[in-house]
Symmetry: C2
Subunit: 438 residues, 2 copies
C-alpha cells in the first residue's frame, strides 16, 4: 500500500511521544512490512526503490522506518557510550515455551489475544523478558537482532531522569532550584523560573505544542532544530537543542498539570550536564553504562553542535535495555555493585502526582502518573515504565520480579496505538509468572 | 594565528591523499594546537568560539581538525564494524625507554632529530610500535586515546585492497577482468574497460584531478558527492559514491602509469562488494575485523545512500590498526588463525611496478611502488605501508619484525609534509631494533 505524504508529516510530528489525533490509517502488517523480506538497503547499491535516505525523508516513512530504527547511526551522527572493559553481567537463561500461549483481553475491547499474537500486532523488533533476573523469553523480528542497537526514542528520557535523581541524591542538583540557577541561558525563556522537579515531572507551564497530527504544532520546528528532520534550504531557525530551548516561551503556570512535552527532557539533559560538569554522553557512560556489565556500547544521536539528544536519541542493544530495567528493579544494585544510589531509585519509584497526570487525558493510561522521566501504572504490581514512540519500552513489574524490554517499529508513533495490545499482555505475563514460577 | 579561508579550501581539497602544491603556510605547533588544552568542544554547550561543526566547515579547519579526527562519528553517519565476541588478541608489553632518544636525519636536509621530537613535529595523536608482536612503544597526544577510534583516511584503502586480494586468491574476483564485468553501471564510464588489477594498482587512465591546492580539481565535487563536505543549497550534482563514479570519464590509457586517484579505491570497494555479494562493511567485519581479536569495534563513514567510503572512511583504535599490520607481517596468520589467505598476502607483498610509480613524481618516495592499495618502499627491509592524509600510517618492516601504527592531525593533508620526519624515523627505529633486540 502507499503511504501518503500527509502521513509522512504525521510521522515526523510523532517522533516525540504522545497520541495522534484522528482515525488511524491502515498499514501492511508485520509480516508484509518485514524489512528483511522486503529487501530494504540490500545490494551494492540497493535498487532505487529499496534505498532509504535521510534527505528525501524515506528513513521515516513506513515501512522503511522498520529498517531505520535498527540502523540509526548509519543515518545520523552519534556519540559512543562505551560499555567499558569489565565482564558482561551474565543473564542466565531459563526460557519458557508456555509464555507464547498466555491469553489476555485487548484493552477496551472483548477481543482475546495470545502473547505470541501481540508481538506481530505491535510490529515488535525484539522483546526480552527477565524473571528473577533470568531470561525466560527472547525473540527478534524484522531488522531486530540481539547484537544490533535500536533507537529507544523517548525511553531515553528515563536514563536522563535516573541520572538526575542520582545527582539529586548526592546533593549536586537541587530539585527545588530554578532552572536558571543552573542554566542562565534560559533565564528569560519559558523554563527559567520552573523548578528542576517540575522539569523532571513535565509539569512546566511552557508554550510547546506536541499534538501529533497538528501541522501547526511546534514539533516540526523542534525536529529540524535538533537534526532529526533535515533542515530545508534557506533554514534560518535555531540550530541545535540548546538554541531551540531558549526560544520556548512560558505559557500558564509551572506545576499545575502534567503535559508531555519532550523539551522538558532536553532541559533535564542540560541540567544534569551542568550540575555534574560532565557532558551528557560521558555522564551516562560513567554513572550507568560502564557499570551495567552491558554486552555492547550504546550511543546517542548528537545535534549539529555535538549535543546528545536527551529527549530521544539513545540507541542500545535490547538485553542491555533489560539490564538497565533490572538494575532499577533491584533498587540500583546490579552487576555486583550499587550502580545508582538506592535513595535515587527510591525517589524515582515514589512515582508522580496522579491528579496532575489525569489532566493530560491519556485514555490508555488511567490512574497512571509520571515522575523523574518515568511512567507509573500505580497498578497492584507497582509496574512502571520507560516509553518511546513506535513501541520502545522497558516495563518493570516489581511484584512479579519481572522486567520486559521491547523494541518495535509500529507504523503509528503514539504508544496509545500499542498500549491496547501491550499493557494487558504485560500485566497478564506478570500475573502468570507470579502464579507459575519455576 | 589565523588560518585563512584559502587554506580551508586547500584543506578540503586535500582530504584525499597526495602532495599539495606551493609553499606551506605556517601553523601553531603541536603543543599550541593541542585540542584538549585549547578546550575544543568542552562545556554544555561549548563556548561559541570552541564549537566544531560540519555545516560551517569548522570540523576541517586547523587546529579544530585535531579534535575532529578523534570524533568522526559525532560529525558523520557511520556503519559499525563489530569486533565480534571472541577474546582480545593480547599484545604483550615490553616497553623500551631507549626508543625516544633514537636519532635520524630529516629527509633531504642535514637536520638531526630524535624519535621523540618527531612525534610533535608530525602532530602525532597516537603511535604504537610492535616488535616481534610485543608493544615496545605507545604514546597518545592531543585528542588521541587508546580507546578512541580515529579516522584512518586513505589507510582505509589498504583494508579494501586486502579484501580484494583475498577474493582474488579464492577465485571470486578476476584481476584481469574488466570493471564492467562486475559493475555494469560503469560500462560507459571511464572505468568500464579498466581491469580489476589496474584499479587496485591505480594505473587507470581516467579524468580525475586530485591535485591539492588547485580549486579547479575534481576533489571538491567528489567530497560533496560522498558527503565529506556539506552540499550547498541547490546542489544538483551526484549524491553518493556510486553515483559519482559513474560520472568519471576516461582520459588516456589504462595501465600506463600510477596516478594517485582516490576514486580507484571507491571502485575497488564496489568491486569487492559485488564479487562477494556482501556489502563492504559486512565483508570487512566477516573477513578481517571479527577475526583480528580487536579491542574495539571499528566503523566506516557512509554516504547519503549508506555506502561505506572505501577511499577514506574507516575509523578504528590505534592498537587494532597495529594488529591488522601485524597480521600482514605474519603472512595473514594472527590471533590463532589464518585471517587472510597466505596467497593473498604474498600477492600483496609482491609490490608494484616502480617505473609506473616513478611517473607520479613523489619527491619523498624515490624507488617506491604501489600495489593492491598498499605502498612499497622497496628498501633493504622490504617495508610497506598503508597511508592516509594528515599522517595516518601503518608501517610494516618485515626484516626488523616491526609494525608501527600512527594517527596524526598534521595541518597539511599531504604526507609529503610528514614523510621527511617520519620515514627516516621509522627506518632508523627498524635498524635500531634489528641491532638491539631484547
Amino acid at each position: 500500500m502507499r503511504v501518503n505524504s500527509s502521513w509522512r508529516v504525521l510521522g515526523v510530528l510523532a517522533l516525540l511521544g504522545a497520541p495522534a489525533a484522528g482515525a488511524a490509517p491502515t498499514f501492511p502488517d508485520a509480516t508484509a512490512s518485514d524489512p528483511v523480506a522486503l529487501g530494504w538497503m540490500t545490494g551494492s547499491p540497493p535498487p532505487a526503490d529499496k534505498q532509504i535516505r535521510l534527505e528525501d525523508g524515506s528513513y521515516y516513512r513506513f515501512p522503511q522506518l522498520r529498517w531505520t530504527f535498527s540502523h540509526w547511526r548509519e543515518i545520523f551522527p552519534t556519540a559512543d557510550i562505551p560499555r567499558g572493559t569489565g565482564p558482561v553481567a551474565v543473564l542466565p537463561r531459563a526460557e519458557r515455551r508456555d509464555i507464547d500461549a498466555i491469553r489476555f483481553t485487548v484493552l477496551d475491547t472483548s477481543q482475546e489475544m495470545t502473547w505470541r499474537e501481540s508481538l506481530a500486532a505491535n510490529y515488535t523488533d525484539g522483546i526480552v523478558v527477565l524473571h528473577r533476573g533470568r531470561i525466560v523469553y527472547e525473540r527478534y523480528f524484522g531488522a531486530g537482532a540481539a547484537e544490533r542497537p535500536h533507537i529507544a526514542f523517548s525511553a531515553t528520557k528515563s536514563y536522563i531522569g535516573t541520572m538526575a535523581a542520582t545527582l539529586i541524591a548526592s546533593g549536586k542538583l537541587d530539585p527545588k532550584a530554578h532552572v536558571a540557577t543552573y542554566i542562565p541561558e534560559l533565564k528569560d525563556g519559558g523554563f527559567g523560573d520552573a523548578t528542576v522537579a517540575q522539569v523532571l515531572d513535565m509539569t512546566t507551564g511552557i508554550k510547546f505544542s506536541e499534538i501529533y497530527g497538528d501541522p501547526n504544532s511546534d514539533v516540526p520546528g523542534y525536529a529540524r532544530a535538533v537534526g532529526m528532520f533535515p533542515r530545508p534550504a534557506g533554514y534560518s531557525g535555531p540550530v541545535g537543542v540548546y538554541a531551540y530551548l531558549a526560544t520556548v516561551p512560558k505559557q500558564g503556570e509551572h506545576g499545575a498539570a502534567f503535559t508531555y512535552r519532550s523539551v522538558n527532557s532536553d532541559v533535564a539533559g542540560w541540567l544534569v550536564a551542568r550540575a555534574s560538569g560532565v557532558p551528557l554522553d560521558r555522564l551516562l557512560e560513567e554513572t550507568i553504562w560502564s557499570r551495567l556489565g552491558a554486552e555492547g556500547d550504546a550511543d546517542m544521536q548528537v545535534d549539529a553542535n555535538g549535543t546528545p539528544l536527551a529527549a530521544g536519541g539513545f540507541n542500545a542493544r535490547l538485553r542491555d535495555m533489560a539490564r538497565f530495567g533490572e538494575m532499577l528493579r533491584l533498587n540500583g544494585r546490579f552487576n555486583g555493585q550499587q550502580v545508582v544510589p538506592a535513595a535515587a531509585v527510591a525517589e524515582i519509584r515514589r512515582g508522580g502526582d496522579r491528579e496532575a497526570f489525569a489532566k493530560a487525558g491519556y485514555k490508555t493510561l488511567p490512574g497512571w502518573s509520571y515522575h523523574d522521566q518515568w511512567w507509573f501504572s500505580n497498578n497492584a504490581h507497582g509496574a512502571f515504565m520507560a516509553r518511546g514512540v513506535h513501541g520502545q519500552a522497558i516495563y518493570i513489574d516489581p511484584k512479579a520480579e519481572m522486567v520486559i524490554a521491547r523494541f518495535a517499529s509500529h507504523p503509528m508513533a503514539a504508544n496509545a496505538n500499542l498500549d491496547p495490545t501491550s499493557l494487558p499482555a504485560y500485566a497478564a505475563l506478570g500475573d502468570y509468572l507470579l502464579a507459575h514460577p519455576r
